[in-house]
């Protein structure tokens, strides 16, 4: 390990990094792991990560949330979940979403669960030549993958993992409670274009930890001499505020079905013309969630494990926050190796 700089050296680094921060010159480059766009439909994009070392089958498809941007999964090279899994020999695909615009305002759960995600899975099979897929859903992406597996048993889902995925919306706190108890209705938040503005989501997340903005800046000042810390801080800080709009029709459905009816917790979710049941998810299942997650609290995610119908349902409980699986030192040292092991045990070597 490199020796920590002396006092004078630290002040020099502090001044240098501080000036660069104030002039906005220090934003690190993110999402650097090489990849190719192999399929696109409207705002849905399917990326395949380049590798000369693919050793396991089936391929792994990560379905990203609709609530944030996907580069958190490949934030910085040393802690990137995608880079790590590529390095472990997995054939990695990522399904993410360009920021929605008014054309997406009428998108619903069915648009994704019956449309984009199955189409992306077909594209994964076509690109990889495999006849099955391991699915990973992050945050709201986990909700979508659960509904997909429950609604489409004909799709070849070999294994499924969800990370920081809400199940019991009675336990998710401020943002859900505002709608649960009808203090606000979806129409109060949806704007004239039919979308929930990115600013509304950002303000909601900021409200959960009111002093966080100050604390983060004090942390930055304290560690301003440390290039690694500064790089990580800026990358994560930028992502945390880089919100996207949310389709209004999907928001209405989320409020009514997921929050007010708490349908996921009940295990029965109205979808399409019928109802889907989590007990129909029968593939090997891993529910990963974090003790210190303030966005999807552990109490919200934990009930999911016994609701699925497979005999191989396990949990991974981490001592971290919402992004503790995908970014940061804890992710790289603790979460990602355990995730890789779980997938590896349920894959074949090629």
């Amino acid at each position: 390990m490199a020796e920590a700089p002396g006092l004078l050296e630290r002040q020099y680094f502090r001044a240098r990094n501080g000036l660069a921060y104030m002039t906005g010159e220090t934003r690190p480059k993110v999402a650097l792991t090489p990849r190719d766009l192999v399929w696109k439909e409207d705002k849905a994009r399917l990326w395949r990560y380049r590798s000369g070392n693919r050793r396991y089958s089936p391929p792994v498809l990560i379905v990203h949330s609709l609530v944030s941007k996907s580069y958190v999964l490949d934030l910085l090279p040393n802690t990137s979940m995608l880079r790590f899994l590529v390095g472990e020999g997995f054939d990695m695909f990522l399904l993410d979403w360009e920021p929605p615009d008014p054309a997406d305002a009428e998108n619903t759960l069915e648009t994704y669960v019956d449309g984009y995600i199955p189409a992306a899975m077909h594209a994964v099979q076509r690109e990889s030549g495999a006849d099955a897929t391991t699915l990973i859903g992050y945050c709201f992406g986990g909700v979508l993958t659960l509904l997909l597996a429950a609604a489409h048993p004909e799709l070849p889902v070999r294994n499924m993992m969800v990370m920081a995925t809400p199940c019991d919306y009675r336990q998710t706190g401020f943002m859900s409670n505002m709608f649960l108890e009808r203090r606000l209705e979806p129409e109060d938040v949806i704007d004239d274009t039919g979308l929930v503005p990115a600013r509304a989501l950002d303000e909601g997340f900021q409200t959960i930890k009111p002093t966080d903005a100050v604390v983060q800046r004090v942390n930055l000042f304290q560690n301003l001499w440390n290039d690694t810390f500064v790089e990580s801080f800026l990358a994560m800080g930028h992502w945390a505020r880089d919100q996207v709009p949310f389709p209004g029709a999907l928001f209405r459905q989320t409020v009514e079905v997921l929050i007010r009816q708490n349908a996921l917790r009940e295990g029965a979710i109205p979808l399409g013309r019928g109802e889907v049941h989590l007990k129909d998810v029968t593939c090997p299942f891993l529910n990963a969630y974090a003790d210190q997650d303030t966005i999807t609290p552990a109490a919200s995610s934990a009930p999911l494990t016994p609701l699925v119908g497979c005999g191989d349902a396990t949990e991974l409980r981490l001592k971290s926050g919402h992004v503790g699986f995908v970014a940061g030192r804890h992710a790289a040292k603790v979460a990602q190796p355990q995730i890789a092991d779980w997938i590896r045990q349920r894959s074949e070597q090629t």
Partner: protein, 114 residues
């Protein structure tokens, strides 16, 4: 090692953070937030027409003009998406039947490599 100057900050911040994080989950805060949100939205909607009229006087499109056009384009794009899905459903139909039109049934096009 924690610097000395950080200690008084932490001594104040930690209880304050705990209190504030608890406060935002309270009924009182949530009720007040809902009222503030609605008042802000109502004020904005009351003021925007006047701003729009003033902008139009100068030949500048207002926010509502932009939203109107944006929504019209969005509607066209949605119709295009529906037509495309119907076309796929027809193309994949087995003889004598109608597919469900779900995108999942169709081989989808690949775009060029990024």
């Amino acid at each position: 090692m924690t610097p000395l100057w950080r200690l008084p900050f932490d001594a104040v911040e930690r209880p304050l953070s705990a209190l504030s994080e608890s406060w935002v989950q309270s009924d009182t805060f949530m009720d007040a937030t809902a009222v503030a949100f609605r008042v802000q939205r109502r004020l904005s909607r009351a003021v925007q027409p006047y701003i729009g009229q003033w902008l139009n006087l100068w030949g500048i499109p207002s926010r509502s003009d932009a939203v109107l056009i944006s929504n019209q384009v969005a509607s066209l794009e949605r119709q295009l998406r529906e037509l495309r899905q119907e076309l796929r459903g027809v193309e994949s139909e087995p003889e004598g039947g109608r597919g469900n039109g779900a995108v999942a049934q169709q081989p989808v096009r690949s775009t060029g490599r990024a």
